[in-house]
Amino acid sequence: MTATSGKIRIACFGGIYNNYLALQAAIHDAQCRGVDALYCLGDMGAFGPHPNRVFPLLSEHAVQCVQGNYDDSIGNSLDDCQCGYTDPRDNHFAQISYDYTLANTSQVNREFLRSLPGSIRLEVAGKRVLLCHGSPRKTNEFLWESTTSTHFLERLADEYAADVIVVTHTGIKWRRKLSCGRHFVNVGCLGRPENDGQTNVWYAILEFDSSHGCQIEFVPVVYDYRRLAQEMRQQKLPLEFVAAVETGWWTTCLEVLPGKERRAGQY
């Protein structure tokens, strides 16, 4: 992408986890803000209801997608989501949504998931942008704010020759300024709220212009979470997941949270 009229803005969505209602709201929001392109960093499935409803939105609005660990699993009909949980309770719930998502994702959509690239590289206003899922080096690597040193991110930026690295996978947004005007950003996710007691979800807009480099803005997305919760109940998905949607507090998969992030939540 090259700047024709000064600024270029791209919207980056994190994991969707079947939350097509939040995806719809986020796409609408980004379009209203006049972004130039839409990207999704992967994990279309998990957690929410009606997996097939995500895909028409992605294609209709030309959202370019990276393959997440979940997409690799569903696309290739693997046995589990590769999130790597070890807590039996986490695994139990994760498996219920995985089996549900696998059973309810059409062959065509599985093929689409299988075909997705592991990362996308862009050149925007002279900046080398690397979109990936967990980290540039591993799809299911968790990069949390409190467990990722700045010099580690500098090393990733050097090794992967990127000025801006954009990831998701953890579900909680954060960003770090690096040397030489470089940036790292975890955009959070659209699929579920970020364990802060709020029901909204988040995405990020990256704005590039040749004089100011890259500016990152996190954008809250308010969507019809009550409807999502209702559909999850109708689909007999775990009530623990429904609670997370309705309360904004994570009730499962807490084991992978670092102490600092865990303390910020309720459970």
């Binding site: 790597g84 949390w144 949270l257 102490g259």
Partner: protein, 303 residues
């Protein structure tokens, strides 16, 4: 089966830097301690604040992601709180402790240090069972109660300690044992306990307790085909002791495991010739925190 030419692992990235911060000095003498730490074992010494600072600065250009502190018992090092305060300016820190030597004033300092930092300070407390009857025969008389008091103290200061348990029970009893343990923790006031179960390593004192490794229990080249090498600590970690930089926290006593005096020079290959390597291979990730579990998994700590 002999293993004349064991496979060699080289360091891909120095993600995890360990510090043998208390050397081999420990107030306890657990039966399974794989480097046989004790109050009198001075074969490795304390690391000073200056030494740790020098290594932290060295670690920047290596791109280290997280720092780990072990011993012996880290809190026996009088400079530990200062060391952790400093480390939290560089990156996330994890301390592996037995939880039995704590002062409230240290925890006040650590609470403030973590609050002021971008990074998490993880506390890992080791115990061996959910009761004195199961824990104390292994770790020593009265250690269960003392460790539980330590857990409570950390919780009172706003930490969520990760309780690590070396597996000393049959697999089929695991779920029940874990459930009882969680109940017990909740009764002591730790309402969202974090647990990590580790395999025991059959070296050091553990060797006398059960048995050593059989000759056949070695990692072979064939075994590494299709194996995710990032599962091995030595693939992405090094440990600093008062002697230099060693390949991994498990084998510090092995002469050939002392690789170099600087971090930058310690990235050479290491032959997986030890029985302990076989456990690493089997169990993977016994040392890392669950927050980096799927990417990097590691082997047994010894706090």
């Amino acid at each position: 089966m002999t293993n004349a030419s064991p496979p060699t692992i080289t360091l891909s990235n120095l993600d995890h830097l360990w510090f043998q911060v208390a050397g081999t000095t420990c107030n306890l003498t657990c039966q399974h301690c794989f480097i046989s730490c004790s109050p009198k074992n001075k074969s490795f010494g304390f690391l000073s604040l200056e030494e740790v600072e020098r290594r932290l600065n060295e670690s920047i250009k290596m791109g280290v992601k997280e720092y780990f502190f072990t011993g012996g018992e880290p809190f026996l090092n009088p400079q530990l709180t200062a060391i952790l305060q400093l480390t939290l300016q560089y990156g996330p820190a994890t301390v592996l402790t037995n939880g039995t030597v704590l002062k409230e004033e240290w925890l006040e300092v650590l609470r403030a240090a973590e609050d002021a930092s971008l990074y998490t300070l993880e506390i890992r407390i080791s115990i061996d069972g959910f009761s004195p009857e199961t824990n104390d025969p292994i770790r020593g008389e009265g250690t269960f109660a003392r460790a539980m008091k330590g857990v409570k103290t950390f919780v009172d200061f706003g930490f969520l300690p990760i309780i690590t348990i070396a597996r000393t029970w049959p697999d089929e009893e695991e779920q029940e044992i874990v459930n009882r343990f969680v109940e017990m923790l909740k009764e002591t006031g730790y309402f969202r306990p974090r647990l990590k179960i580790l395999p025991t390593l059959q070296i050091g004192a553990e060797e006398e307790r059960t048995r050593g490794y059989f000759e056949s229990e070695r990692v072979t080249r064939e075994m590494l085909n299709d194996f995710d090498q990032t599962q091995l600590i030595c693939e992405h970690s090094r440990i600093v002791t008062d002697r230099g930089v060693h390949v991994c926290p498990i084998l510090i006593e092995l002469p050939q495991a002392l690789l170099a005096s600087s971090l930058a020079d310690s990235n050479g290959g290491f032959a997986l010739s030890e029985g302990a390597c076989f456990t690493c291979y089997q169990y993977g990730a016994i040392c890392s925190n669950p927050s980096s579990s799927s990417a990097i998994r590691e082997a047994k700590p010894r706090a």
